[in-house]
Subunit: 341 residues, 2 copies
Amino acid sequence: MASSIHDLARHLNISIGTVSRALNGRADVNADTRQRVLDAAKKLNYSPNQSGRSLRQGATHSIAFMLQPHPGDQQYGEPFFIPFLIGVQGRLAESGLDLTVVMGAPGDYQQERLRRVVETRRADAVLLAWTRRQDERIDYLTQVGFPFATLGRSRSGGKTYPSLDLDFEQAGSDAVDRLVARGHRRIAAIRPSLNLNFSHLFLDGYRKALKRHGIEVDPALIADGFINEAGGYQVTPRVMLAKDRPTAIIFNNDAMALGGCKALAEMGIRPGHDIAVTVIVDTPLCRYFSPALTAFRPALEPMGRRLAEMLLASLPAFAGPEGPRIIHEVWPLELVARDSD
Amino acid sequence: MASSIHDLARHLNISIGTVSRALNGRADVNADTRQRVLDAAKKLNYSPNQSGRSLRQGATHSIAFMLQPHPGDQQYGEPFFIPFLIGVQGRLAESGLDLTVVMGAPGDYQQERLRRVVETRRADAVLLAWTRRQDERIDYLTQVGFPFATLGRSRSGGKTYPSLDLDFEQAGSDAVDRLVARGHRRIAAIRPSLNLNFSHLFLDGYRKALKRHGIEVDPALIADGFINEAGGYQVTPRVMLAKDRPTAIIFNNDAMALGGCKALAEMGIRPGHDIAVTVIVDTPLCRYFSPALTAFRPALEPMGRRLAEMLLASLPAFAGPEGPRIIHEVWPLELVARDSD
DNA sequence: TGTGTTGTCGTAAACGTTTACGGAAAAACG
DNA sequence: CGTTTTTCCGTAAACGTTTACGACAACACA
C-alpha cells in the first residue's frame, strides 16, 4: 500500500542506503542521483514511516503537551491554551517536530497518562502547563530524567528545566495599584482553590500592593473557588457579604469572572457602575462581555513560540553549538482598560 | 536506560519470544513463567517501546483528532470539543488506544497536516470534526483509503465512513416553533459564514419551520459572520437594521451569540426584555451569561464515546465477530429554557 | 513399546528506517 | 604512469517488537 524506501530503491535500481542518504540530505551522494531520488519520492508519493525512523533513531520527532483537566471539572482553560499551542506548534514545525496534545479524563491529575507517554516513549519531550507549587508531574519527570519544559513555575524539581511564566505577581500588584488610584480601598480577590502556582503569585502581588498603599489585607475579601464559571458564581457572593462591602473585585480567571458577574447581576450589582471588576487573564470573553471587562492580557502565541524554542534549546539534539541551555523567563501581562472599572 | 524485552529475557534466563508471548497474554506459555515474566516486568519497570510495536504490527495504537481552526480565526470551538474529546478518549482507552489531537496553525484547513499524519502513519485512524458540505479532507481520506469517522455529516465521500451528527435541522426548527409560540414572527438567524454543514442544516430547519407557520423567509433577517465573538458582533446590527426589526434572534454558535449580545447592548437592546435570544449549541457561557441564554444542549461526552465506538466498529481489527460495520447516527439537542427569550 | 497429541519454549525472520564501514571508481597529484 | 585522495555507493547491522515455525519433552493411547 504505502511505498517504502525499498520501493524507491528498486524503482531507481540503487540501494536503500543511498536512497536514505539522499532523502536525509547527507553529503556523500551525487547531486544527480539525489535529484532522481527526490523526484521518484514525489512520484511514488513516498514519505518515511515514522515508526521505522523512531525505532532506529530512538526519537519520535514529536513533543507532547499534556492538556490538564482539573479534578471535578470539565474545564481545561482552552481559550487560553489554544493560541499558546498555535505558537508552540509553529516553532516545533520549523524544526521538523510534531506537536501532539494528549488528553485525559478529569480526575487523575494526569500522572498516569504522563507515565504512559514517557514509558512507551511516545514523545521526545513533554510540555507541562498549570504547574502547581508542589508538582508531582515535575518530580516524576526529573526523577526519571525525561526532558520537559513548563508553562508556569513551580517549587518542584529545582531549576533544572526550562520554564516560562507570566508575571502574575506584577499583574496582581498593578491591578491593585490601578484600583487604588481610582479611589478604591476595599478590593476583593477571587482565585482558584487549587494549589496552582499562578494563583499564589497573584495573591502575593495583591497583598504586597495593598500593604504598600497602607491598606490592611482583609481575609473576608479573599475567596477561593473552582476554576470555572460555577466557582466564580458560587464564591463571589461570599466576598460581597463582607462587613464592609468591597467596591472592587479582581478575578484571577476569566471563567470565574463570568460566573462572578452573574452572581453580581443577580444581586443587582452592575460591574462598571456599582463595582469595579478586573480580570487577570484576558480572553475574547472579557472583550465581548457587557460591560467589556478590564483585563490583563498575555501574549499567548509568542509565549508558545518562545517556550518551544526554550525547550529545544535544552535538548542536546536541537541545541546550538554552545550546547544545551536551561532558560527561565517571566513575561509581563499588558493592561487592557475597558469598561468594567 | 529504559528496559527492553531483551533485558527481561536475560534477567529471567528465557527467550525474548517467550517474554513477548507472556506479556501479550498468548495461550502457549506456562502459567508459572507468565507470572514470573509479569513480576519481572513490574520490577524492572518495563513497558513496550511503541515504535517497535508499531513497526512490527503496522499499527500505531493511536487515533488522531484533527483540531480544526478556521481561516483567519483563533477559534477552535474548544468549549464544545473538550467534553466531546473526553468521551472519545474514555472509549478509546478501553480498547488500549491513545487519542492524540493534532493541531495546526489557522489558515490551511488542515489538509497538509492531515496528509502528514496519514502518510507518516502516525495514527491508525482519524476523527474529523466541523465537516463541510464538500469536504476535501473526506475526499482525500476516502481516496487514499485511510480509515476515519466524522463528527458531523457531509456530502463528500458517500456513506462509506461512520458519522455522528447533531440534529441541527430539528434544533433550528424547534427554536422557531418555540419563538412563534411565544408570539414572535420576525425571527432572525445568525450563523457562520463558512461552508460548515451544520450551518446549512440549521438554516434548513429554520426555513422549513417558518414556512410551516406561514411566515415568509426574509433574507434581511439572515446573516453570516465569522464563527467567533467578532463575527457575531459585526453581523448582528445588520439584521437589527432590517426594515421591520426582528423581535427574536437565533444564534447558531455560542461565541457569535456573545458578540451579538454585545452589539445589542450597545444599541440599548436587552435580551430577554426587548428581544428574544436563542442559541443553538449550549456551553457554560450561555448558562452564566446575564441574562442566561436559552440554548439547545448536546450530550457531548456520550457523543464522544459513541463516535469512538462507531469508529472502532468500522475497523477490521476492532470490529466484532460479525465484521466491520458503518454506522450513522443523528443525535437530538435538548432545549434548555433560560431567561433570554 | 510405538505412535500421536499436547504443552511449552527457542529460533529467526520481519517490520522500515539509519548509519558505520568498506570498496570501487574517478579525480588529483607527484 | 603510479600513488594518493576524493567521491560515491553498496552491504549489513541495528533499533524493539511480534509471530510463524519447528523442536523437544511429557503425556496419552493403542
